[in-house]
């Protein structure tokens, strides 16, 4: 705790000193601000990509353990460098754009996918001061930015000019539109309880009262199901259901472009797990023997593991059952939860 705070303070001092030095050079202040914003972004990005590399390895290990096999074992102890080599392979693979594809949309789609997956981390509070920007509409920002990925999937699916891709894209559009609503409802209930939409505020509210998991069990249920569906994880991985749609929206993607989708997927997984930790398990807060950041990481990985566990155990849900679950179960439950929360907020 102490270490982290002093670190933050030190960085703040450095920033102020740098700014004064910068203006003394006669270069306008906004260049410095922009530069620092870029630096901040790079820092978050590095953290994120390292995590994604680890997550991919973790996924394979978890899947392996669940299926009674060791998972990757070569390339480093316990195959820890496996992902690194996989990434290397993806980069040097031939870059294929189908001749009948809509070239520009095809190229843009991975970018539209990865950009929000990175942008969304702006509001994630890793610690009391470790937050890129604490927007006071944090929750709204989250649901807004995450809705971009629908567009990316549709672009990818449509531009590939492949029937399986198109089917995958249509599935994903239907799925994500349907599950965005319960996700939003769960977020709204959390916001009502905390009295703010700022993620930092929500964590602080939980420090005052208790973890929202205890106050919001229904909301948590809705959130975790909708979040799993929103990031296309099994059993809701219909857009890329490999046994039905070959590979769904990314059938025609290969090499680095495919890798970008892959990275975005894991970044989203990490983000949703982090959101679950922040909104329902008190985020960074925890006993002082661990720094806040590690508490956040621990709770996040708890949810990552939970989502992986569920995904490797259950069969895939069918597309009409998915819609039923969304519209006939999650949305009514989410609405009821909001009503209950309203009553609760008024009473207390």
């Amino acid at each position: 705790m102490q270490l982290e705070q002093s670190l933050v303070q030190w960085v703040g001092n450095l920033y102020a000193a740098g700014l004064s030095w910068w203006t003394s050079l006669g270069i306008p202040e906004w260049v410095w601000v922009a530069l620092m914003a870029v630096l901040k972004g790079v820092a978050v990005l590095t953290f994120l990509l390292l995590n994604v590399l680890f997550l991919i390895w973790l996924e394979r290990k978890v899947a392996g353990r669940i299926q009674r096999r060791p998972g990757p074992m070569h390339h480093g102890p316990q195959g820890i460098f496996q992902t690194l080599f996989d990434a290397l392979k993806l980069v040097i693979k031939e870059d294929i754009i189908p001749s009948q594809a809509d070239k520009w949309v095809f190229i843009t789609a991975p970018l539209v996918m990865i950009a929000p997956a990175l942008m969304i981390w702006v509001v994630m509070p890793f610690g009391p001061d470790l937050i890129a920007r604490d927007l006071n509409v944090g929750l709204l920002y989250v649901s807004a930015v995450s809705s971009f990925s629908i567009l990316a999937l549709i672009m990818a699916g449509w531009s590939s000019n492949n029937k399986w891709s198109t089917l995958g894209a249509m599935r994903s559009a239907a799925q994500m539109i349907s599950y965005e609503i319960p996700l939003g409802l769960a977020l709204v209930a959390v916001g009502m309880l905390a009295g703010t939409l700022s993620l930092k505020g929500i964590v602080e509210a939980q420090q005052e009262r208790t973890w929202f998991l205890l106050l919001q069990p229904l909301g948590f249920l809705v959130f975790i199901v909708a979040a799993t569906a929103e990031i296309n994880r099994a059993p809701f991985n219909l857009p890329e259901a490999e046994s039905e749609l070959v590979a769904g929206f990314n059938t025609e993607y290969s090499g680095f472009r495919w890798g970008v989708f892959f990275v975005a997927e894991y970044a989203n997984l990490l983000f949703m797990a982090g959101m679950a930790a922040t909104l329902f398990l008190g985020g960074w807060s925890g006993p002082a023997f661990l720094p806040p950041f590690l508490w956040w990481l621990l709770k996040t990985y708890l949810f990552v593991f939970l989502i992986m566990w569920v995904g490797w155990t259950l069969p895939r849900i069918r597309v009409d059952q998915l819609m039923e679950l969304g519209w006939k179960f999650l949305i009514p439950v989410g609405l009821a939860n909001i009503a209950l929360t309203g009553v609760f907020v008024i009473l207390t």
């Binding site: 899947a63 669940i66 299926q67 009674r68 096999r69 029937k163 399986w164 089917l167 249509m170 599935r171 099994a234 059993p235 991985n237 259901a241 490999e242 046994s243 039905e244 749609l245 070959v246 490797w312 155990t313 259950l314 069969p315 895939r316 849900i317 069918r318 597309v319 009409d320 059952q321």
Partner: protein, 385 residues
Amino acid sequence: MATTSPPAQAPDVRVVPDEQDRSSSHLYVSMGPQHPSTHGVLRLKARIDGERIVDVDPDIGYLHRCFEKHSEQLTYPQIVPYTDRCDYLAAINNELTFALAVEKLLGLEVPPRAQYLRVITMELQRIASHLIAFGTFAMDLGATTAFLYCWRERESIINLLEEISGARMLFHYVRIGGVRNDVTDDWLRRVRAFVDDFISDKLPQYHRLITGNRLFVRRTKGIAVLTPEDAIAWGASGPVLRGSGVARDLRKVEPYCGIEKYDFNVPVGENGDVFDRYMVRMLEMEESAKIIKQALEGIEAGDVMAPLPRRWKVEGETYVRTEGPKGEVGCYLVGDGSDKPYRLHWRAPSFVHLQLIPVISKGLLIADLVAVIGSLDPVFGEVDR
């Protein structure tokens, strides 16, 4: 058993055109021959409306290896390994069918120990084949984990069979006149141990993992119902026929290898849907294990090969069929007195079952189509031969 006659006119099997009909609002997709869940090289030409299937036309032949033509150039013992490659997931059952056919034409008596060994290996092979059917079926539905659990048990079976045959997939163990090798008592003990473990531990695991799962049940119950009338009229056999509630098992109806002495049940389904076909397979594994146990108790010492004739003079014709894991494996053999068959026709259950896809999958979703293929459990080695 239902015995209503099907309608007398030709059934409505519509051909799905390859070309996109611009005036239609349907989408034409070609599922396969390279598709993750077509169990080989099945190609389905499907006309879909959204995700709903309007029409589907199976297209086969991508694995045609001229087995029947080839057999006409080979002597009888030479054909045996090629029969393995028909249903390559149940090699023993194929060898057995062919061996029984030749033995019948030759009038060979197979020694009793060989009979027991044939029953043991045949039923082990049935378990192995059903395991793959179950595993791939679960994987098609998105439950990848069950697949690897099945692989684990199949590996044990393969190890056992490898020990006595030397091969891991195309065993070539059952020969005309008996079986290739005798087995040791230790091997029999290990088969026993495997079967006991399988029944008490492994099979309940599968049920816990998959059968009781609500997602699984909702995806399989009431899907692609095959009525008993249709099943009979279309010549379905094996778990597909029994899943529709028709208790026809060739081991009961036309016993071979002394299987009439064993005590086992013929599980049947009630509704004829995907779930019932799956469940019949699961229950059959149990029955197979029961048969193996009885065979292990009854096995007696003795020769495993009958003395073979020096000069093969196979004359006449016969149709011999056995109950393979997929259904009725039939060998229609016409001999002309020489050592090579005049005509050999292989009745492959998967070939017949694939006809059912257009019949039972109209109006389903693409995701269901995958389940339907899995529940029919086709193997393309025998479909295309």
